[in-house]
Symmetry: C2
DNA sequence: ATCAATACTTGAAGAAGTTAATTATTCGTC
DNA sequence: GACGAATAATTAACTTCTTCAAGTATTGAT
């Protein structure tokens, strides 16, 4: 039924997949609770769970709290044995590769990074290969428990066949990265767009758990958005989805590299903030850290740059809320290291622009450790174990 | 297996449902083609189709064109017997109710309308009841083939339980319209938001057929948008979805009744166009038809109002394309009666604002007969037969 | 100790789909 | 015009997954 891990596939009957993903994402649950939750009979859950327990992926916890009014056999909740298998996740950027080793519950157990000097396919593959070695070295557990590698990078990716259709920052077109990396590392490789990978991670292991629909907005050099609707990741028909960064929020705003004007990214992207701060201070070598420092010290005009950025982001997420009506929204990314400068402006702007009850949508705003991108890649790899 | 129509449900095994909906939406198809399309064995299709044929919902067509190089038994395509059952669809507006009788393929066979003077629940139910009688009278076929009624109205609707959570134009809150109308008419009733109903109709019976994801934008007094993503209608968690009309496209634009400024609806809604045209002509009694006439005659300022409206709509659909990446977009609605004044401006604006390959998304623009809203309601009723 | 309540397990029965063999129908060829 | 290759549809045996109904397990309350 479950052909074992060596077959490289972990696909069982529908009920087994549903049981495993539910236990994985929603923590310890009893069999009856699973049956109710999934619309199955409890007998079906018992049967579906057995091979998963035998393979060591699930185990039973001791009964804990009593359930209802008084009586009855206590439930023995099923839980995932997180250390049954480990997953590598690697994020590829223009100038480095960052990797992590995660367990089944996407907890990070080791991490590493390597610089990248040339963007050509072979150089990237070589550095990914070395990074994988580094990760194996840094990983304290049993190497044979690591069999899968997730790669994440910005661009238009066909996750199904591991193809990089187009990557602007690497200048790649139609590179079969999945196949190449699998050959190089001997691991089962998945490839996904970085924002979608992070969204998947949040959907299965973060604040998106249990949400029928939710949106993850990333703020950094670029401004992106991953969407889950009706429980499924939105892919976009033409390689475009979640391009919140190129919504126009100010027709008179600064020009954007996309050719438009007043895009969210052209106002709130890290580069845009630096450019504006330089204009206002007359310091051509000012960095983003300088800008943050100046704003925190109370430099009026630089503060205004951050205010304007927060307002633009709020506008963007309001557009998402008005159009797809997610259950919740998470705003995250390296760009939010200066969280305190954005927070209230994002919220104010969102609440002003959200239509009607959409304003009730909870918005979490929190900075993102850069490692989280690699963890997102690992999360996709975990998903590929369950839903190939 | 199929418990017959009298049971009020038409739910079979998954394969049967898939076969029926595919034949219904994608026209006559042979069993082998269905098998390929649905990932089933041809044996499964044969088995699934038989009870549907026995019940009279499907029938076999004579073999038509030859398929490939030369030989082989010709396929006998399965087709829907459109007149096996009929469906009522009623759109409720602030001042009238409009109804149609449709066959299984959503072809209109009869229609009727009645004025509505009071917006209270009982008055609406009475008029709906009378309209149903009128429709039965106007319907040339066998009345016993009509068992279902779809209602569509603007507002926040819970389709599952037929509840009108909130309807601004009727000032209703939490009205169990489905139950009430079922009691009044003796029919199986579905209730859906009007824009979503129209989207469902387009998804099953119009230009949206076969699209994994698509968007329908309606232009009229309000500007709305229905979305299908991953093959499923987007519902929105807080009763809000597809609120394209309240995206901000011009921060300095006119005030909108929603409290914002420069919303698409405040620029391109029918009322907004009339208001602006009045301002420019100084004629306080000018109607939308007058405005259209003036624009067609070449009145510069009134033309500019339409241009601006088209540009705003283009902006809105570009936002949809950038965020969800639909396979195709249809722009429709009574407001497009003056189609020629909008068309090119919508397209230009869309292409300028769509990001990257999203600009390749085909956009159809076409006016909408008002009856189409009622047909949308009927389409939801047809869906409820297949997917309860 | 007994009972009611809840959780889980078991084995038989049933539903839904697959594979493989069979029948049906056509075209092209000799 | 019979024959075979090609494609379509059907049939029957079998597999897989799930439910149902009955039983076992474990607790709290009486």
């Amino acid at each position: 039924m479950f052909p074992g891990i060596d077959a490289g596939v972990f696909a069982g009957p529908p009920a087994a997949t549903a049981v495993f993903t539910t236990v994985l994402t929603e923590g310890p649950v009893s069999r009856v609770a699973l049956a109710r939750r999934l619309g199955l009979s409890s007998a079906a859950v018992t049967k579906a769970a057995r091979p998963l327990i035998d393979l060591g992926y699930l185990h039973e916890l001791a009964a804990t709290e009593r359930s209802g009014p008084g009586a009855g056999r206590p439930a023995s909740p099923l839980a995932v044995r997180a250390e049954r298998e480990f997953f590598l996740g690697v994020k590829i950027t223009a100038d480095e590769v960052i990797g992590v080793v995660c367990d089944l519950r996407a907890q990070v157990h080791a991490s590493a990074r390597r610089p990248l000097d040339a963007p050509d396919v072979d150089a990237v593959l070589t550095e990914v290969g070395r990074l994988v070695e580094d990760l194996f070295d840094a990983f304290p557990g049993d190497r044979s428990l690591v069999r899968r590698l997730g790669l994440a990078l910005s661009g238009d990716i066909d996750r199904g066949i591991g193809l990089v259709r187009y990557s602007p920052f690497l200048h790649w077109r139609d590179v079969p990265l999945g196949r190449l990396a699998a050959r190089r590392t001997g691991l089962a490789v998945t490839v996904e767009n970085d924002v979608k990978a992070l969204t998947a991670a949040e959907h299965w292991f973060g604040e998106g758990v249990g949400a029928e629909s939710f949106a993850l907005v990333t703020v950094g050099t670029g401004i992106g958005c991953g969407l889950v609707v009706n429980g499924r990741l939105v892919s976009g028909s033409y390689g475009v989805a979640g391009e919140i960064g190129h919504l126009t929020v100010d027709a008179d705003g600064p020009d954007c590299h996309c050719g438009g004007r007043g895009c969210v990214e052209a106002i709130a992207g890290t580069d845009a903030i630096v450019t504006q701060a330089r204009d206002h201070t007359g310091r051509p070598d000012l960095t983003i850290d300088d800008a943050v420092a100046l704003a925190r010290e109370g430099h009026e005009q630089v503060r205004a740059v951050f205010t304007r950025a927060g307002t633009a982001i709020g506008c963007g997420i309001a557009a998402v809320a008005n159009l797809v009506g997610p259950t919740r929204i998470v705003v995250s990314g390296e760009g939010l290291a200066a969280y305190d400068l954005f927070d209230s402006h994002i919220r104010t702007s969102f609440e002003r622009q959200a239509f009607g009850a959409a304003a009730r949508c909870p918005v979490s705003i929190r900075p993102l450790p850069f490692e989280a991108w690699a963890r997102g890649a690992a999360a996709v790899s975990i998903q590929s174990l369950v839903v190939p």
